[in-house]
């Protein structure tokens, strides 16, 4: 952040923003979304405690509709928000200062995403290094093993949980390795595209952005296949104890981010074709690129800690 601390130059006229109805739409949308989501999961999954015939059950039956409505509002909001931002940017309404703010904002947003993943990586680490050995009787937990889980075998991956659920582990050298290669390639193609943008080489820009997005789609397809394989062949599910929990939560949230990133890239590709970006003014493109690289790096960690080790 060093370069921004020195504000040189003469007093500038600041950009003063206009009113906007988007935030309130977004807030209502989020509210409807979570209201629906709450009712939906209570209606469809085994709730912890739910009395028969009470209102929530009635509400639960409304869940899917409310959830859909919420999603629609939120998607509409996102479309509106970013198209407004894109329009403003192309109309050159953004000062250099605002551009900097956007960039830094994006970086901090990615930081927060990193911390979100950190929570799950932390859980994985704690489970492997602490919980599983403890359940196996290590440290001050000899009695935990002896009295409560005498049959439990402390190995990672936990293919048999303390209560006896069994599963098989997912090896790293099939699909996951291919997926790693795909994501690494996609980072490379994205960088080519970015350089092309700066060099005003539009055909290369458009082509390589599409290629990157396409690699994202392939990644997702392979991952979907891997999940299918896990559920049907290996008996590895979200509910297969701590190994399955961390496996699916980490790869699942990563997959969600790849999905978002891919959509981001597709939108960028279209915008490239429309000539929205100039070498000087392409914050959105850079934000997309950063996001993609972030997703990529998370995958590398996943590959190492979830699959390989």
């Amino acid at each position: 952040m060093k370069e921004n601390t020195e504000n040189t130059g003469k007093p500038t006229n600041y950009y003063v923003p206009e009113q906007s109805n988007l935030p309130i739409i977004g807030s209502v949308g989020l509210f409807v979304l979570v209201l629906g989501a709450g009712n939906f999961i209570q209606g469809t999954t085994d709730t912890v405690s739910q009395k028969e015939g009470s209102l929530p059950e009635f509400m639960a039956s409304m869940g899917p509709y409310v959830l859909t409505l919420g999603l629609l509002i939120v998607f509409y909001l996102m479309y509106k928000w970013w198209s407004t931002a894109a329009r403003e940017s192309m109309a050159n309404m953004n000062s250099a200062q605002l551009d900097r703010s956007y960039r830094q904002g994006m970086l901090w947003f990615i930081t927060s995403e990193v911390m979100f993943f950190a929570a799950f990586f932390g859980a994985l680490w704690y489970a492997r290094v602490m919980i599983v050995p403890w359940l196996g009787g290590e440290g001050n937990n000899a009695m935990t093993h002896a009295l409560l889980w005498p049959d439990f075998n402390a190995i990672w991956p936990v293919t048999t949980t303390p209560d006896g659920t069994t599963t098989q582990a997912m090896g790293p050298w099939g699909l996951p390795a291919i997926n790693t290669a795909i994501l690494l390639t996609s980072s490379w193609t994205l960088t080519i595209a970015h350089h092309a943008l700066i060099d005003k080489n539009r055909p290369t820009l458009i082509l390589f952005t599409w290629i990157t997005a396409f690699l994202g789609v392939i990644f997702l397809g392979l991952q979907a296949y891997e999940y299918y394989h896990a559920y049907t062949d290996l008996g590895l599910t979200l509910g297969s104890g701590i190994y399955g929990n961390t496996f699916f939560m980490l790869t699942g949230f990563h997959g969600l981010h790849v999905t978002i990133g891919t959509i981001f890239l597709i939108v960028l590709s279209i915008r490239c074709s429309k000539g929205h970006f100039t070498p000087e003014n392409h914050f959105a493109y850079e934000a997309g690129a950063w996001y993609w690289h972030f997703v990529d790096v998370v995958w590398l960690f996943l590959f190492v800690f979830v699959y390989a080790l």
Partner: protein
């Protein structure tokens, strides 16, 4: 300003009066500090506590004195032209280093004490403590018997929703039906675990507080030096009756302890004999109902209420599907193995008691299914058939 002064002095007077008044009442109990307790560790904890208290008083006192002095000496009327200084590296170093020294000084005894408190090796005996909402199950691992201990203060003493004021015993909320009896002068190792949520077994007089965590076993220990009756509580929020989950330990000399153990073993043999007898015989509806009512009031009523109508998260049994439509076997299985928030009673109740309470629930409060289940069947269900 006169309004201000009047209000201020009024408020001060009222609060001084209140404080003084209640302070006097409180002094009778002279219960405003940690207890030195009855073990070596609790005494050491107490000493360390007092040491920290005084040091913290001194630190805070110094800060307050400096503030008070500034406020009096450097008020505008006394010191109309302020000084201009804005830093002093020397001073800043001093007041970084001195607190560090104080902390280092405090750390040393704390580390030593902690290491001793955590050393559970070479214990003379082991007691397993199992937290169950909202009672404690104690298992004497070496001797081989166990019992459940729960609050014995009657509801009539604490339920005062009519706000008429109820008569309360001296050990209100700190008394149980089955006291834990322990020998003095022995190193006793506790193994803590829980059936449901996290509880915390806290005995202030031993300076022992350890969480009981479901699925794990924590260890701690004590060595009681003085015979007596000691009272503690569950210290980790564990749901509705968290405040009603006391612990009572009676520490006795070894001989008396041995006697108690012998008696417990005898009781256990007797209970097993009776249970076997009860399980073997075929019960009449009336007997089952009478026995079932007793068990229900003792074990189930806290949650499902006397009326069988449930409360909040606890479902009604009156008219419930399980108790009226489903087969009696399923009903009994639920009681044996538990479900969700409902505790498993399979080990706590005998076959006959389970049969009785299930029968009771299927016929009380107008459930009137007319069905009953015999202890023998319960025993088969427990075996998994």
């Amino acid at each position: 300003m006169s309004l201000l002064k009047r209000v201020m002095s009024g408020a001060l007077m009222v609060s001084c009066f209140l404080t003084g008044h209640l302070w006097a009442a409180e002094a009778e109990y002279s219960k405003l500090n940690l207890r030195p307790g009855v073990t070596e560790n609790s005494q050491r904890v107490f000493d360390l506590h007092m040491e920290v208290v005084w040091i913290m008083f001194a630190v805070a006192g110094l800060v307050f004195a400096a503030i008070l002095y500034s406020v009096i000496r450097f008020r505008k009327s006394k010191n109309p032209t302020p000084a201009k200084f804005s830093h002093s590296t020397t001073l800043e170093i001093i007041w970084t280093v001195i607190p560090m020294l104080i902390l280092i000084y405090l750390t040393k005894p704390a580390i030593e004490l902690l290491l001793d408190m955590e050393d559970t090796s070479k214990a003379d005996m082991t007691v397993k403590v199992n937290g169950i909402r909202w009672k404690w199950e104690y298992t004497y691992l070496d001797e081989g018997f166990s019992f459940v201990s729960e609050l014995s203060t009657p509801e009539s003493q604490y339920k005062d929703y009519a706000r008429t004021g109820t008569e309360k015993g001296e050990n209100y909320l700190l008394e149980v039906n089955n006291e834990v009896v322990l020998p003095v002068g022995k190193k006793i190792r506790f193994l803590l675990t829980s059936k449901d949520v996290i509880h915390s077994w806290w005995m202030p007089d031993f300076a022992v507080k350890m969480d009981a965590i479901p699925g794990f076993i924590n260890e701690t220990w004590t060595k009681i030096e003085k015979p007596g009756v000691y009272r503690g509580v569950c210290a980790e929020l564990c749901g509705e009756l968290h405040g009603f989950m006391p612990i009572v330990v009676r520490a006795v000399p070894q001989a008396e302890y041995d006697q108690w153990v012998a008696q417990k073993l005898e009781e256990k043999a007797e209970a097993e004999r009776l249970a076997a007898e009860a399980a073997a015989k075929s019960w009449s509806m009336d007997d089952l109902m009478a026995e079932g009512k007793r068990v229900y009031e003792q074990k189930c009523q806290v949650c499902h209420q006397a009326s069988g109508e449930g409360l909040g998260a606890f479902p009604a049994l009156k008219g419930s599907a399980v108790a009226t439509q489903g087969p009696a076997d399923d009903h009994a299985r639920l009681v044996i193995y538990g479900r969700g928030m409902m505790q498993a009673f399979g080990t706590e109740l005998t076959d006959a008691e389970i049969a009785a309470v299930v029968t009771y629930e299927r016929n009380a409060w107008g459930n009137d299914t007319g069905e009953m289940i015999q202890p023998g069947r319960v025993s088969e269900l427990k075996a998994g058939n």
